[in-house]
Amino acid sequence: MDPVINHQLPSPATADAAIECRELSKKFGDFMAVDRISFHVQPGEIFGFLGANGAGKTTAMRMLCGLSYPSSGHATVAGFDVYREQEKIKQHIGYMSQKFSLYDDLTPLENIRFFGGVYGVAERVIKERSRELVQSLGLEKEANKLVGALPLGWKQKLAFAVALFHRPRIVFLDEPTGGVDPVTRRQFWDMIYEAAEKGVTIFVTTHYMDEAEYCDRVTIMVDGKIEALDTPVHLKHRFHCDNMDEVFYRLARTAQRSDA
């Protein structure tokens, strides 16, 4: 059931890290939402970010996206510092959240034009790319219908395409396939692989453990800390498990805090 499996893990030495964290922490009052996490993500890597609800995934991701400042530690995204260069980071990342994130009362083309415009993509380029995009998604007939009328699966694919529209170096996906049927999820992952092949770094959070298997490397966060970080194969081997589901369960059940 593995999709495009010929995806090669980029060697760690190829280039500067796409994302680099050292002892990154976020404190809300006395509460350590994210507790000294350290990792680096290579360009073109598909990096899975797992953890139960309340483990600190979203908080960590928000810091990396320039939505909030860390309390301590260091991090760079696309080579830019998360404290001083949030604006530059925003230019070079794409973002798609678990909530469907396009405008229902706009057509796909209007959505593309809007987000393209917000990212400062030139009008001419927007025209060109949106034509290609509509074609590759097979949306020709629906291009001028309102997005609200599209099936959820297509909406999600379109949202992903929009997140990639300004050609970001890194794209953050926050539970991108929530509520989507298995077939569409497969197609969605095909799109992720395609983007990674082109050198886009994928940072993805998910609750689906079969999706965790598709990642080049996976981190599992428990109570704000990184409990494990390796390839799915190594993780399964290390914890003597058959699949990622068991690995996750092993680690996550030690959690002290649940839904925050």
């Binding site: 320039g66 990342i93 959240s97 469907f100 994130s101 809007f114 987000f115 917000v118 309102l146």
Partner: protein, 368 residues
């Protein structure tokens, strides 16, 4: 700048594709103008008045005819007994009754002292008072007409003029009130809902992750509603002038500037509300209860502020619409100039600055 334009274009798509928003934008002003201009008029006309003429003499008949000829009353002559009258009042069949006693003519001409009894339904004080005033005025007229020229005429005759509204046009007061209400709805309610909707649908996150400056999101949300409010302002003025015959006495430019100021205040209010809430319903509720009600109650266009207890009058000073209403009335109806409305304008200015600075500050805190 180009990004801002792209954003504003998107906002207009939202507005013009949402039937409810359109209805509020253009249906509401029309309905309110018609409602306040025609239906909710405070003038009382065609009141049913029962006249029981016990005297049945010449002067009694003349008085009845004079009452009948006025536009205020529908006179019905009915010889009712006191108990019949009372039961008719109880059943709510009549609102007012005038009883002309026996020997009315004789009392008037010979004894030079005649009485009339006027009964009104006190459970409707407004109508009662109006009936009393009208009947009094007609009786005074009648009395003067009956007296021979030689007799002593009254020494004092008040000459009454309704300044700034000579014809007693009842809708004149409502136009500034409707302006304040509509602008408040458009700028505060619609703006706050427009921002909060982005939070609800999750698109706000996407915008915050984008290089688009967060404060510019607020600007981009505010500008379309600023433009729409100005269109609404023009629309209401046209309705007022051509439909309700309310003249614009003062400078149109000054009126425009005052309105622009009020729009700024209301927009800042809307943005503040949108910062404090996360659901469209709550935003709408706060705008409606927190601002619409005070606007209606404390502006003075429905309930006179002068009659309110002091604490309420203090509260009324916090309502932006009160200042706007006062300024618009001064300029539009009285034709006053900048010298007379600078106080209201500075209050609005101050409110806008305070609200905007809180909004921008809160917006930053939320992002940290």
């Amino acid at each position: 700048m180009k990004q801002l334009f792209v954003f504003i274009r998107k906002e207009f798509y939202h507005v013009f594709r949402d039937r409810r928003t359109l209805l509020i934008l253009f249906g509401l002003p029309l309905v309110q103008i018609l409602l306040f201009g025609y239906a909710l008029t405070s003038e009382v006309k065609n009141i049913d008045l029962v006249v029981t003429n016990v005297s049945n003499d010449v002067l009694g008949q003349r008085l009845t005819n004079q009452l009948r000829s006025s536009a205020f009353f529908n006179v019905q002559e009915q010889p009712l007994s006191p108990t019949q009258i009372e039961s008719a009042f109880k059943k709510g069949q009549i609102k007012a009754a005038l009883i002309i006693p026996a020997g009315f003519s004789a009392d008037f001409t010979k004894a030079r002292h005649a009485t009339l009894q006027l009964l009104t339904d006190g459970s409707e004080p407004n109508i009662s008072k109006t009936v009393l005033q009208y009947v009094n005025a007609i009786v005074q007229d009648f009395q003067r007409a009956q007296q021979p020229v030689t007799s002593i005429s009254p020494v004092i005759t008040p000459e009454v003029r309704l300044l700034y509204n000579e014809e007693g046009n009842g809708s004149i007061n409502y136009v500034p009130g409707v302006l304040a209400l509509i602008l408040m709805i458009v700028c505060t309610a619609l703006t706050s809902v427009a921002v909060v909707r982005e939070k609800e649908t999750g698109t706000m996150e996407i915008l915050l992750v984008s290089p688009f400056k967060p404060v510019m999101v607020l600007v981009a949300k505010a500008i379309p509603f600023l433009i729409l409010s100005l269109a609404n302002f023009a629309f209401i003025l046209l309705l007022a002038v051509y439909l309700l015959q309310v003249p614009i006495a003062g400078s149109l430019l000054l009126l425009f500037i005052i309105t622009l100021l009020f729009i700024a205040t209301s927009l800042s209010f809307g943005l503040l509300i949108s910062n404090a809430t996360n659901s469209q319903q709550v935003a709408l509720l706060i705008s409606m209860m927190g601002l619409m009600l005070p606007t209606i109650i404390f502006t003075g266009f429905i309930f006179p502020l002068e009659n309110m207890p002091l604490p309420f009058r203090w509260i009324s000073n916090l309502v932006p619409a009160k200042w706007y209403y006062a300024a618009v009335r001064s300029v539009m109806l009285k034709g006053l100039g900048l010298a007379d409305v600078w106080k209201e304008m500075s209050v609005l200015c101050g409110m806008t600055i305070v609200l905007l600075s809180i909004t921008v500050k809160r917006f930053k805190i939320r992002l940290a």
